[in-house]
């Protein structure tokens, strides 16, 4: 049994199939005994990070802006697996998802450390979830877009003290995706 947090970045302004697809995945994962917390980001009150560093130097570990992003940070730290889900829009995951990702800063620590020969930040917690990504391709999405997304998310996971363990598409069957998550 895994604790799984899902961040659904469907902006809801178009006929994406992501919502219904994620519904299917969530049901399947629950039926296999996993505990799911799913956030539909567009329905939440999450403002843009204002870059104040308050979460590091004023109220360490918590954003000074008290909105729904705190729920995500809490759920993430309590999870074994964090699944990002988004349509590909203009070659990248949605703005709704990126805005939420910018608000994950509280879960890491300001102090610097060298990771694989590069400067990064230190962990605040002992354990971080493994990460996965589900994409719904757009009409204009090509292989280059997918590679760029994969590479940027792989780097983002270094900062989240984790690894990108899975990347799938809404063309894949829900069983396949659930199997992949089971095996992590």
């Amino acid at each position: 049994m895994k604790k799984i947090t899902i961040l659904n970045g469907d902006p809801g302004n178009r006929a994406y199939e992501l919502d219904s697809y994620m519904g299917e995945i969530e049901n399947l994962l629950e039926s296999r005994g996993h505990e799911i917390t799913s956030f539909v980001l567009r329905r939440m009150d999450i403002s843009y990070c204002n870059g104040c560093w308050g979460c590091w130097v004023k109220t360490p570990g918590e954003c000074v802006v008290r909105d729904d992003s705190a729920q995500i940070c809490r759920s993430l730290i309590g999870s074994d697996f964090l699944l990002f889900a988004s349509p590909v829009i203009m070659g990248f995951t949605s703005a709704v998802l990126k805005r939420a990702c910018d608000r994950l800063l509280p879960v890491i620590h300001p102090y610097f450390e060298i990771v694989t020969g590069e400067v990064h930040h230190r962990a605040r917690y002992e354990k971080y979830p493994a990460l996965g990504l589900i994409l719904e391709r757009g009409a204009d999405t090509d292989q280059e877009d997918i590679e760029i997304i994969r590479d940027i998310y792989s780097r983002m996971t270094v900062n989240l003290k984790s690894e990108l363990r899975m990347m799938r598409f809404t063309e894949d069957s829900a069983e396949e995706v659930a199997d992949a998550i089971d095996s992590i």
Partner: protein, 223 residues
């Protein structure tokens, strides 16, 4: 030349982005016929004014800080608003400035790939991406510590104003180090320690939060 500048920092007018752009633009208007307009993405209620400005622009400079190895959310919002302009005739030439807190330019290489692909997607002639690491201290430190950097940004702007190109030599200089060498890493370790002490600890103490710096408010209860 008419330049339309988009400042994509979440800190808006009080950003490092704004300080770097100020130097660049001072150089840019050395050429008497040059003019520019700056829009702050974060200060806009919705992005329609920015999209209009983009549509009418001749040359665009999109500048932002690296946020989680990519563009800040507000910049992605703006990019999504540009979708209807993909492939339209008369889109502006497009240049980028990305700067990061971390000192090496490698952190920004990935978003550069994205931005250059974005130019192609929009059908904009891409003027390239200027990358500068180690930008977080700029707005906090005394101006004299940034004198050389400011001079280079002024020069970059001046040459851009004359030629419409980013000067390769200055861009190359900003890009160093791409990564630290073995020896460089020794210095970087020391720099990291200094950063912890002189930057983070100072701020933590200023806000009376030093003793709580390792707080884990979201730690699951251990039962």
């Amino acid at each position: 030349m008419r330049l339309t500048v988009f400042n994509g920092s979440n800190r808006g007018k009080a950003s490092n982005t704004a300080i770097l752009l100020e130097q660049f633009l001072a150089g840019f208007i050395e050429q008497a016929a040059n003019e520019y307009e700056t829009l702050y993405l974060i200060h806009e209620k919705d992005q329609t004014r920015c999209v209009e400005a983009f549509k009418e622009a001749e040359t665009v400079l999109l500048a932002f800080p690296l946020y989680t190895d990519c563009m800040p959310g507000v910049v992605k919002t703006f990019i999504e608003y540009l979708e209807p302009l993909c492939g339209r005739d008369g889109n502006p030439a497009l240049g980028f400035l990305v700067h990061s807190g971390f000192p090496e330019s490698v952190h920004s290489h990935f978003v550069r790939r994205y931005l250059e692909k974005l130019s192609r997607r929009l059908g904009c002639r891409c003027l390239g991406t200027v990358i500068k690491g180690g930008s977080e201290g700029i707005r906090a430190q005394p101006e004299r510590m940034s004198r050389k950097l400011f001079r280079l940004f002024f020069e970059l702007g001046r040459i851009f104003g004359k030629t419409g190109q980013f000067d390769k030599k200055i861009v190359g200089q900003f890009a160093r180090p791409v990564r630290f060498s073995k020896l460089g890493l020794l210095g970087a370790r020391l720099g990291a320690k200094m950063g912890d002490m002189l930057y983070w600890n100072r701020l933590l103490k200023k806000h009376g939060a030093y003793d709580k710096r390792f707080a884990r408010p979201y730690e699951p209860d251990k039962q």
